[in-house]
């Protein structure tokens, strides 16, 4: 097994969200180096190999997986929940599920990052079901204030308006637009995460974009 220390990973092939820019590893898929037994030629361990090690109770592998994916999962969850406390709790539960269920992961079916986002998304939806009032409560207060067109001039205010509009989207539409346009997943990957087919995903994206355009530019309803 190659050296798995985080410092080496960051110093040589920079790890960001499971992707190594130099060694070109993305969830065990290598475009430039050679994978042998889960280890890429420059010593970087693939995510698939880490999951296999985690399934055997390897805490070091878990810590490394955490370093690779925690920020991305937290960022997604924060955009989903608009709440630091909720996003931290759900991120924690997501990785605990990984620790417990690593043996159920099947390499090759989906990428590890897709698997992690799937767990995070569904935990998020469960949380919303339990606390149905929280998302709307979080959003409605600033929305009225920001809806004033006179305040929409600055970029910062537009971003606030966008965040507010995002938060008001239905859960699946928000997930779809975040996964495809912020987290960088393809439509097929996002569809797998949401457990819908690609056509349904496109439909979710279309409705989300229409609503966002309507809220940000005040004319989205004209389209249909």
């Amino acid at each position: 097994l190659g050296d798995r220390s985080t410092s080496d990973l960051q110093g040589d092939g920079v790890v960001s969200d499971g992707v190594v820019s130099d060694g070109v590893v993305s969830d065990g898929v290598v475009s430039d180096g050679v994978v042998s037994d889960g280890v890429v030629s420059d010593g970087v361990v693939s995510d698939d190999r880490l999951i296999a090690d985690i399934a055997r109770g390897d805490g070091e592998a878990f810590a490394l997986l955490l370093d690779r994916h925690l920020d991305s999962i937290h960022s997604f969850l924060y955009r989903m929940t608009s709440s630091h406390a909720d996003s931290e709790d759900i991120a924690q539960e997501t990785f605990l599920r990984v620790w417990r269920k690593a043996a159920t992961y099947r390499p090759g079916r989906v990428k590890v990052s897709t698997w992690l986002h799937t767990i995070a998304h569904h935990l998020c939806i469960d949380t919303f079901r339990k606390q149905r009032e929280i998302p709307t409560k979080l959003i409605d207060e600033p929305a009225d204030d920001l809806a004033d067109p006179a305040r929409q001039s600055s970029v910062r205010e537009q971003k606030l308006l966008l965040e507010s509009a995002l938060s008001r989207l239905p859960d699946n539409q928000r997930s779809a637009i975040l996964l495809c346009q912020v987290q960088g997943f393809s439509n097929a990957q996002a569809a797998a995460i949401l457990r819908v087919n690609t056509r349904a995903l496109e439909s979710l994206l279309a409705r989300a974009r229409r609503r966002l355009r309507g809220e940000l530019f005040a004319n989205g309803d004209d389209s249909g």
Binding site: D71, H74, R79, W99, A206, R207, R209, D222, S223
Partner: protein
């Protein structure tokens, strides 16, 4: 002839985004013609582009420093806990089924054995009688045998 109207164009933007490369090939030409002749369509395209840029520019929300430690500390402490989790989550159903089958087999086996013993005793008596009968017939055979 261009049949695309503003509503269809907006639907195209919503479904496929503002990049013409992502639009269905058969609709690109009509959409481009509409953009050229309709300032409203051009405006909608610009808005869609701006929305894409705004989404792409959303700043990441990295996890706070303490969260990594909190997650690591919260892991089940030892292998026995993991084993218990695993048993609790995955193994109890097949284990219960196997145990039930085993117990059922044991009970059937015990019952069969006592029945078999009974059969053996009865069979022994029958065999003895048969031998006696055989002996009798032997005595009745002619002398040359």
């Amino acid at each position: 002839m261009n049949t695309m109207d503003l509503k269809s164009f907006c639907e195209l933007l919503d479904r496929h985004g503002p990049d013409p490369a992502d639009w269905p090939t058969g609709l690109r030409s009509e959409a481009r013609q509409l953009i050229e002749r309709s300032p409203e369509a051009e405006k909608r395209l610009e808005e869609a582009r701006m929305l894409e840029l705004m989404l792409a520019d959303l700043p990441p929300e990295p996890a706070p420093e303490f969260l990594r430690s909190r997650i690591l500390v919260s892991l089940p402490a030892d292998r026995w806990t993991r084993l218990a989790d695993w048993f609790g989550n995955a193994l109890w159903r097949p284990a219960l089924a196997a145990s039930a089958a085993l117990a059922f087999g044991f009970v059937i086996g015990v019952l069969q054995q006592s029945t078999a013993q009974q059969v053996t005793a009865d069979q022994y008596l029958a065999d003895e009688l048969s031998l006696l009968a055989f002996s009798n017939s032997f005595e009745e055979l002619p002398d040359e045998y």
